[in-house]
Structures are given as structure tokens and as C-alpha cells.
């Protein structure tokens, strides 16, 4: 519970214990269960040939417990998925936590967020495992000549790479290198097609086998399911490419500005209910190339410790002083803010800062947590700081109207000084935006690096954003957008609750579609990702250096395109893998009641 203020933590534990009691759940509910021979046949038929199959302790699948949802039997990514039989339930608003409605909003937000501590023996094992890997790596490096290309014709030069860095990537990361950069050859929609590859030399190089594996996609950031090769978005984009071409080959300030981008900016501003917006061709660059325009050397930035690399790069380029506060911890934020404002810039003898900026993300992509926005805004007002909110993952995915965390918390978006986000994820396109007051955006138009120097957005890419944004807003005259938002919220709740019921440790807020499942050990990251692939599920693993050494994790990203059957299919696989690999670390009481979709 290190991330939250201590006193509320105890309240949380107590209330959880009283409401749930202590029950061990059987095999969940509504899980997709197959008869044993049927399943074995499926496994034989569809097992991915390319990946190393991890031998699991239990070869026989569990006997069927209760087949509550008969339709779920039919789902398998290799087969055509059946239409969602639950579409009719969509209109029934699921309202969890009604009983706890009396709590203050802060406490409620806190309750819904989970950062369960790692069991001590697991922590010890994780460190031990990691150091063992390192030692084995060193021995390996001593005994065998590394099979890597060496630099040619540069004798006597200073070595280009740091010794540890290349050691780590060659002898530690290589062991599970096959879990990343997996090529796909399809739309990254609710399912995707992996191009199978094998390695004959323990990860030094890969070869394609020529086969393909169809997988359920729990890895792409396709929150609202707008990634599609057919439908309105794709049609409009193709139309736009045909009428306006593929690019402008010029920056916005030379010959790259056009009516489509102006419309996109106006629409983005309207979407958030702010005065103006500016768009860029790359989400990463939106942070990295605009933060330097907004900050100077006498600015103080207070940044969440889990902020994205693009923000960190932007801050580095800006030359501002950066102070880090503990992840989503408001008490620590206030401490840092107070100290910053009261003691001023130490490099200039305590002279007050020109400006103080708080930098947070809406949903933190590796933690799955949601920023405690109302409290951040209260602090920002108290200390007269400015707030920069990066909604890369939350825009579209959060709030009843998909407007991001401001919508989710019912906060006026004008309370946030700078709204930033990307079009890559929920909108299924590419690029990023900054939105806020007219004064801010005018300043950016005259000072933004990306606006002045980088190529403007390609017409079909901009069109995809326009169409998907209009769909979310309901301006296309349908309720597709509303349904998608609803479906995502429902999928998220269901999936997170079922995972909690299985007894694995997940991080983050229960409404966040980014679901990190903690596996801790470095080797388990590889094992889980590979085993999931053999079960036709594509998920993402994350380990050191992207996370702390101790907190290796598997990340699932939910999508409105997923159906209940698909989630059940995944949950069943996760349940078995969790048993086999010992991932059920959670010591929290499990909810014995079936989770209603």
C-alpha cells in the first residue's frame, strides 16, 4: 500500500474484509469450459508451432465446473468468432459499488485502486532469480564468444557502447527477446495474426516459419475498437487519401496547412469543450517537442514518477528543474509542491520560480492506475501551479462520453491548463494534440517545434481521427460511439473483477482498461507470454528496465471490440497458466459471488 496515504489504507482493508468475507472461489463463473477430449483436440490442432511451448505441470484441463454460458464454448481465435449474444444486456447500466456510495469520492477512488504488496518470499526469489540470470549471463559471456556483429574498420576508436548496456541486452534480455517485437500481419483489432518465427540460436536471430497464428489481441491499444480495415473509418480514410494524397511534404507553417487539419483542430477543441487545440503527426513528439516551448530554466516541474519517456525527454530538452513525486500519492505531491513554492529555486538563491507545473498522466500505461484528478486540481489551485495532463491512454477510454479523465471525474476541462493526448490509441490512428485556452494554443502555434519544422499529418490519418471522433461524439447520427464506450467500461470491470477472483495480483484502478498482472520474476514474463501464445492469446510483457526489477508484469489492454466470450476464453487460459506457473500471489479475500458481465 506504499502508494497511498496510510490512514485511508486501513479503512480500505477493513471495509473490503467485511463486505467480502473470506471465500475461495471455484473455477470462476461463466468460464468457457470444454470437455477434455474436445479441448485436447483443439490444442493439438491450433497450438502455435513456432514458439517454444512451456511444459505445464498439468496436461489435463480442469473438469467442467458449471457451464453457465453455453455460447462461450464456441469462441476460439482460430475459428470465426460468433456474434456477441450479450448485446441485449448492453443497455442495462451496471452500477457497482452502490453500497459504498456514501464514501467520499477520494476514498472511493482509492478503494477501487489496488497496489497489493508483493509477498516477501516472492520478492526475495525475484531478486535472487535476477541476479542468477546476471551471473549466468557473465559466465556465458566469458565462455562463449558472443554471436554479434562487431564493428568493422573502426580499430582504436573509443568503444561505442556502455559495457553493461550491451551485456544486459545480449545475455539477459535475449533470453526473452522473442516476447517482444512480434510481427503481425493483420489489423490489430480484437484479434490479430502473428507471423510465426523461430530461433535456432537462443534468441540471437529469428527466422520465419511461414506459418501464422491467429490470436485474441490483448496487447494493442485499441481501446474503442476503431482499428479496422472495413467500416466507416476505413472508407473515409481511403476517400481522403484519394482526394488529398498521402502527404503534404511540408510543415504546417510552409505548405502543409489545410482545411482538414483546421477542421480536426476545431473538432478536437469541441470534443474537450475548450477554446482551441493544435494537432501533431506523432504522439511522442507532442510531448517531447512542446514541453520545451512551455518551460524555461527557471520553471519547476513536479512530475509523477511513473510518467512516460516522452514527457521525461521533453523535460530534459526544456532545461527546467524537475522534482518527482511518488506515483499518484497526493500527500507526497503536496509536500514537493509546498517545498518548491516556499523555498524557491536553490540555484538562484531561493528566488521564486517563474512557474510551477504539475505533470501527470490520465491513465498510467504501466501501472493501470488513474490519476486522482480532483485532488490534483485542488492542489494546483492552492499552490498556483499549472497542470499538464497527458491523456495518451485515457482519452476515449475514460468517462461516459469518452472525453477522458476530466469526463470521468466530471471536472470542467478548463480546470486543466494543458490537455495533451494521442490519436494512436482510442482513435485508431496516429498523432497527438494539445488543447486548452486560445492564448495557449496561439503561443504554441508560434513556438512549437513540431508545428514549425515537422511534416504535417497525412490526410488519411487525419481523416481516421475525424471520423472516429465524430462517431464517439455521436455526430454521425448513430449511437455506435456510446455503445463502444459502454462496452469498454463493461469489459474492463468484468475482466478486472474476474482476474481478482482468480487470485492474481493486478495493479491499478478497476475502471482502467490497462490491466497489469504482476508475475514478478523475470523468467515468468517470458513463460507467461509464450504460454499465452500457445493458447492463442497475444499479451504484452514488461520487465526491467521498463519496470522496477521486482515488478515484472504482463499487461492486458482491453478493447470495446472484445466480447464476453473472448474475455472468458482469455480468463480461462490465464487461470490455468496462473495455476501452473504459480501466479496466484494475492492474499486478498476473493469474492465468492459470480461476477456479472
Amino acid at each position: 500500500m506504499g502508494n497511498f496515504d496510510g490512514d485511508s489504507g486501513t479503512v480500505f482493508e477493513q471495509s473490503y474484509a467485511t463486505t467480502n468475507g473470506n471465500g475461495k472461489v471455484p473455477n470462476g463463473n461463466g468460464a468457457a469450459d470444454l470437455s477434455a477430449p474436445e479441448k485436447q483436440e483443439l490444442l493439438r490442432k491450433f497450438s502455435a508451432p513456432a514458439y517454444t511451448e512451456i511444459r505445464t505441470r498439468r496436461c489435463q484441463p480442469k473438469p467442467a465446473n458449471d457451464a453457465q454460458s453455453p455460447s462461450s464454448i464456441n469462441y476460439h481465435p482460430e475459428k470465426k468468432s460468433i456474434p456477441n449474444g450479450h448485446a441485449s444486456i448492453l443497455d442495462q447500466e451496471s452500477k457497482p459499488n452502490q453500497a459504498e456510495g456514501k464514501l467520499s469520492p477520494e476514498l472511493e477512488h482509492f478503494q477501487k485502486t489496488s497496489f497489493e504488496e508483493v509477498p516477501l518470499h516472492t520478492a526475495c526469489l525475484t531478486y535472487l532469480g535476477f541476479y542468477l540470470l546476471m551471473i549466468l549471463g557473465y559466465i556465458n559471456q566469458l565462455l562463449f564468444v558472443p554471436k554479434v556483429a562487431t564493428e568493422k574498420g573502426r580499430d582504436g576508436y573509443v568503444a561505442l557502447y556502455d559495457a553493461f548496456e550491451s551485456f544486459y541486452s545480449r545475455y539477459v534480455y535475449r533470453r526473452i527477446k522473442d516476447c517482444w517485437n512480434r510481427p503481425i500481419c493483420s489489423v490489430p483489432g480484437d484479434e490479430l495474426t502473428l507471423k510465426d518465427r523461430v530461433t535456432d540460436d537462443y534468441g540471437w536471430s529469428f527466422k520465419f516459419t511461414g506459418t501464422e497464428t491467429r490470436c485474441l489481441n490483448l496487447g494493442s491499444y485499441n481501446y474503442l475498437g476503431f482499428a479496422a480495415a472495413t467500416g466507416q473509418c476505413a472508407d473515409d480514410s481511403e476517400e481522403s487519401a484519394r482526394s488529398s494524397g498521402l502527404a503534404y511534404c511540408s510543415s504546417r507553417c510552409e505548405l502543409g496547412d489545410n482545411e482538414q487539419l483546421q477542421e480536426l483542430e476545431a473538432l478536437t477543441a469541441r470534443y474537450f469543450g475548450v477554446e482551441d487545440a493544435i494537432v501533431f503527426g506523432m504522439g511522442f513528439a507532442t510531448n517531447a517537442l512542446n514541453l520545451p516551448s512551455l518551460l524555461g530554466p527557471n520553471s519547476l516541474v513536479i512530475s509523477d514518477e511513473k510518467n512516460h519517456a516522452s514527457i521525461i525527454l521533453g523535460l530534459r530538452l526544456s532545461g527546467a528543474t524537475t522534482k518527482v513525486f511518488k506515483h499518484n500519492n497526493m500527500r507526497d505531491l503536496e509536500r514537493v509542491l509546498r517545498q518548491g513554492v516556499c523555498y524557491g529555486n536553490p540555484k538562484k538563491g531561493g528566488q521564486p520560480w517563474d512557474k510551477v507545473m504539475i505533470l501527470v498522466e490520465g491513465i498510467f500505461s504501466m501501472e493501470g492506475s488513474i490519476v486522482r484528478l480532483p485532488e490534483v486540481i485542488a492542489l494546483k489551485k492552492k499552490y498556483k501551479a499549472y497542470l499538464y495532463l497527458d491523456e495518451a491512454h485515457s482519452v476515449g477510454a475514460m468517462g461516459s462520453r469518452g472525453r477522458g479523465v476530466t469526463d470521468y471525474f466530471n471536472v470542467d476541462p478548463k480546470e486543466v491548463d494543458i490537455l495533451m493526448g494521442t490519436f494512436t490509441k482510442s482513435f485508431g490512428s496516429a498523432g497527438g494534440y494539445l488543447a486548452g485556452s486560445k492564448k495557449l494554443i496561439d503561443f504554441l502555434r508560434t513556438n512549437s517545434h513540431a508545428h514549425c519544422y515537422a511534416a504535417s499529418i497525412s490526410p488519411p490519418i487525419a481523416q481516421q481521427i475525424l471520423t472516429s471522433m465524430k462517431t464517439i461524439m455521436g455526430e454521425d447520427g448513430t449511437d455506435i460511439g456510446r455503445k463502444k464506450i459502454h462496452q469498454l467500461a463493461r469489459n474492463t470491470r468484468y475482466f478486472r473483477r474476474r482476474l481478482a477472483q482468480l487470485g492474481v495480483i493486478t495493479y491499478g484502478h478497476e475502471d482502467s482498461p490497462v490491466v497489469p498482472m504482476l508475475v514478478y520474476l523475470f523468467s515468468k514474463i517470458g513463460a507467461v507470454v509464450r504460454t499465452l501464445t500457445t493458447r492463442h492469446i497475444a499479451a504484452v510483457g514488461a520487465g526491467f528496465p521498463a519496470t522496477p526489477i521486482m515488478e515484472g508484469r504482463i499487461r492486458f489492454c482491453l478493447s470495446a471490440a472484445h466480447t464476453k466470450e473472448q474475455l472468458d476464453f482469455a480468463l480461462e487460459a490465464i487461470d490455468e497458466i496462473a495455476d501452473d506457473l504459480g501466479l496466484k500471489y494475492s492474499r486478498k479475500p476473493r469474492d465468492p459471488n459470480p461476477v456479472i458481465y
Partner: protein, 468 residues
């Protein structure tokens, strides 16, 4: 008793110690006390009470988030393109001959490339919905990387999703704090940002001046001799552009390569303009000078010029390029390039290989335009003859850059009204390393006819005579 003895003992110490030692020790003691007190005072001053803190917070008045922007700022008033970009372009309601878009080979109006991109859209959708590591790698990305590497005859290529971020990520992937980078002073803004991100020591040499570079290298060599330990750990880089975006001139590559060998530098060339325009086969500045590509450590290029799509790539030996897959920030942390734009780049490469004559055609057009545009009475031309990017400056400098920019803007506006689209180059003057002289940046298109070049010359000449 013991106390008296001790007292006597101390007294004898004082009597027996020479005076100078006593004075020294006292000074030492004072210094230590002063240092201790000073550090406490300077580091955190004294602790404020809660009331004092509250008062400071109540009195704190931050600067506004951003300064007010002049509503007449030139960058607020951009020109609006109203048609598909090609040799002709509709700008602000005027149908113009296009001398402003960096569409050197005319691929923007190529129907075949468009069809292939649309086919790709129908297979993969628009966005890739993830970074390369997390299911954002599609087979088209791998194809493109293979094709670029093969085209350049090098081992490995790596594709970025944004031209600006390509070189800006590549430089800090290798150069770190404490390293040395020698850079031409005229490099474009993306390189400048890459240098900032690397936190290395930057040494600028005069634009295309090899003697100045050698002078700086010799100076550095002397410094190294004084501190050989540090020198043995300092990586050295040399960064230049193939054709400079800001001047249109070609870098003296053979000389740079000679210096690279002599002083053990690693040479990075940004070929955003020269790739696909220079050399017989469009292989860039290395082919232009007939330099072995192994002599250059890393070549980076945007695909937003001759390839007429979006994004960029770096290409080099496996040893060099592979490193960016774990260290190129813009590669790891950004969503991958949309598949349809990746396909457009592959299709462009197809054309490069199938019709290598297009490069000569482009170079011929660049030369024709160069010869013609040298004759302006009130404008001077800068740039290499074969470069597709050239700059027009005022022949008579105005009193300051603002004034020059104003005149050039007026000139461009009037040219557009008369059917020739030229634009003044856009710079953030206050954020460039040093102010860049305003100019009109001309981009040559392979499809231009001689008559059109003549016509453009007439229009610009007559407008410039009336404006200037």
C-alpha cells in the same frame, strides 16, 4: 585532581605549540565551522514555520503559463492548401505551380503508389495501435527495413514514425554526457534537438568549412594530450547533413571522411534531402561523391521528401543500427508508422529501383532551375547546382531579419496570387541556435517543364522588382 592534571596538560600543549601552528589550526577550525553553517544556510536556508510558508504561498504570483502572442505573428497566418499536392497546388484559392512542397520526385501525384497504399489500408486498417515492441510491428515494417538496407547496400535499417524524431532520437542513442560532437553550424533544427537531448559537449564548426573543423580537432587533440585518461573514454562524433535544409549546399563528404579517419570520429549524416535525389541511383550523398558507405557510420533520413510519405529511417551496419531498437527513444516509445504510409515508402523504393533515370531527370531540372534563378536582379540564389532545395535571399539586405521576412512574405503572397507557389522558410528564430537569415526555400519537382521554370522566373522577377 584529575581535572587539574588535564588542565595543566592542555596548558602545556598550548605553551609547547609554535604560534604559527596555533594560528593555522584556529583558522582551520573557523573555516570548518563556516563551511558547515554556510552549507546549511545555502542549501535550505533556515526552516520556515508553517505560518511563514502559508504567507509565501499566499504571496506567490507565478508568471502566466504562456506569454501573450501578437495576433499579427507571421506563424499564426499560415497558407491553406486546398488541393491534392502535386506539380500544381491550390493555395488560398489560387491555382499555382508548386515550388514549395518537398515532393522532389513527384511521387505525391503517383497513382500507383496511392493504389498500393489504399490496398494496404484495406488489409491493416489505418493506425498500428501500438509501439513496435507491443504488436505494432507489421510485416510491412520489416519489409521496408529490409528493402532500405538492401537499397543502400548496408546491413540494417530501422524505421521511425516521424521524420523529425528520426535524427533527434538517433543522436542521443549513441552520444551521452561527456562525449564530444563536432557539428556543422548550419544543421537543421531536428539535429539541434538531438544534440540537446544527448547532453554531450557540442563543438560547432563553420558551415562546410573543413579547415575550421580540422583546427577545432587539433585543438581538441592538444586538450586530449593533457588529459589522456579522459580522452580514452570520450566518444567523438561528427554530424553533418547530406544537403543542408537551411542552405541547400552539399557537405564536403570526402574531406569529412578523411578527417573521420584521421581523428577517429564516428560520422553521422542526415540525408533527409539528399536521399533519393543525389547520385545516379538516388543513393544519396555517398553515391554523389563515390564514397564507400562503410565510411559513414550512420545514415539517417526522413521519408517526407523524395519518398513522399511520412516517417524516417536510419541505416547502417548491424552493429550500429540494431542498438537503436533498444535505445532510440522515438522508436521504442512511439506507435509505429501507419502501415499504409509504410507501404507507400516500399512502393517508392520500387520506383527507385525500377526507374533509376528519375534521379538524373531531377538533377537536370535542378540544374536548369539553378541556372535560370541565378539571374534574378533583386534576389540571390544559394544552394548547390544539383540540389533540389535552394534558397533565395534578398540581394540588398534589409536592416534586420524581421524586415527581410516581411518583404519575403509579401513577395511570396504576390507570387501565389500570380500562380507560382513559393514560401518563405519557417524558422523559430528565438529557438534556433543562432538566428537564420530569412529566405524563400525553393523545392524542385522532377516533373517541372522548362517552360514552367521560365514562367516561374518571370513571375518572381516581376514581383520582386515591384516589391523590393
Amino acid at each position: 585532581m584529575v581535572a587539574i592534571q588535564l588542565f595543566n596538560e592542555i596548558g602545556s600543549i598550548f605553551r609547547n605549540t609554535p604560534t604559527f601552528a596555533l594560528v593555522l589550526e584556529t583558522l582551520l577550525l573557523i573555516t570548518v565551522i563556516w563551511l558547515l553553517l554556510h552549507r546549511r544556510g545555502g542549501g535550505r536556508r533556515r526552516q520556515l514555520t508553517k505560518e511563514e510558508e502559508d504567507r509565501i504561498i499566499a504571496d506567490y504570483e507565478p508568471e502566466p503559463l504562456v506569454a501573450d502572442t501578437d495576433p499579427n505573428h507571421p506563424l499564426l497566418h499560415t497558407r491553406v492548401v486546398q488541393s491534392r499536392v502535386g506539380k500544381r497546388i491550390q493555395v488560398d484559392g489560387h491555382d499555382c505551380l508548386n515550388l514549395g512542397s518537398h515532393n522532389y520526385l513527384g511521387f505525391l501525384e503517383d497513382q500507383e503508389i496511392l493504389e498500393e497504399a489504399c490496398k494496404s489500408l484495406r488489409k491493416y486498417g489505418v493506425g498500428s495501435c501500438g509501439p513496435r515492441g507491443f504488436y505494432g510491428t507489421m510485416d510491412v515494417h520489416l519489409d521496408l527495413e529490409d528493402r532500405i538496407a538492401k537499397f543502400m547496400g548496408l546491413e540494417e535499417a530501422i524505421v521511425y514514425s516521424y521524420g523529425f524524431s528520426t535524427v533527434a532520437s538517433a543522436i542521443p542513442a549513441y552520444a551521452k554526457r561527456g562525449d564530444l560532437i563536432f557539428v556543422d553550424e548550419a544543421v537543421n533544427f531536428a539535429i539541434q534537438k538531438g544534440l540537446d537531448a544527448s547532453r554531450s559537449t557540442i563543438v560547432f564548426f563553420k558551415h562546410n568549412d573543413v579547415e575550421d573543423l580540422e583546427r577545432l580537432l587539433i585543438e581538441q587533440e592538444k586538450r586530449d594530450q593533457k588529459n589522456p585518461k579522459k580522452a580514452a573514454k570520450t566518444r567523438r562524433f561528427l554530424v553533418a547533413e547530406g544537403i543542408y535544409m537551411n542552405t541547400g549546399e552539399i557537405c564536403p563528404l570526402p574531406d569529412l571522411v578523411a578527417l573521420r579517419q584521421k581523428y577517429k570520429l564516428r560520422l553521422f549524416i542526415d540525408e533527409s534531402i539528399s536521399f533519393g535525389t543525389l547520385g545516379q541511383g538516388g543513393h544519396g550523398v555517398t553515391e554523389h561523391f563515390n564514397v564507400d558507405r562503410d565510411e559513414v557510420d550512420l545514415i539517417s533520413a526522413g521519408m517526407e521528401g523524395s519518398m513522399a510519405t511520412v516517417g524516417g529511417f536510419c541505416v547502417g551496419s548491424h552493429f550500429i543500427a540494431e542498438h537503436q531498437r533498444l535505445s532510440g527513444l522515438g522508436y521504442i516509445f512511439s506507435a509505429s508508422l501507419p502501415p499504409m504510409l509504410t507501404q507507400a515508402a516500399i512502393s517508392a523504393l520500387d520506383r527507385f529501383e525500377r526507374e533509376p533515370q528519375i534521379f538524373e531527370q531531377l538533377q537536370a531540372k535542378s540544374k536548369t532551375l539553378h541556372q535560370k534563378f541565378l539571374r534574378f536582379s533583386k534576389l540571390t540564389l544559394r544552394g548547390d547546382e544539383v540540389s533540389p532545395v535552394k534558397h533565395l535571399y534578398l540581394a540588398q539586405p534589409a536592416e534586420n531579419f524581421d524586415k527581410e521576412l516581411k518583404l519575403l512574405t509579401e513577395l511570396a503572397d504576390k507570387c501565389i496570387a500570380r500562380g507560382v507557389a513559393v514560401v518563405q522558410a519557417a524558422y523559430l528564430q528565438n529557438r534556433e541556435r543562432q538566428p537564420v537569415r530569412p529566405s524563400i526555400r525553393i523545392a524542385v519537382n522532377r516533373l517541372l517543364e522548362s517552360s514552367e521554370i521560365d514562367n516561374a522566373f518571370e513571375v518572381i522577377e516581376s514581383v520582386s522588382s515591384s516589391v523590393l
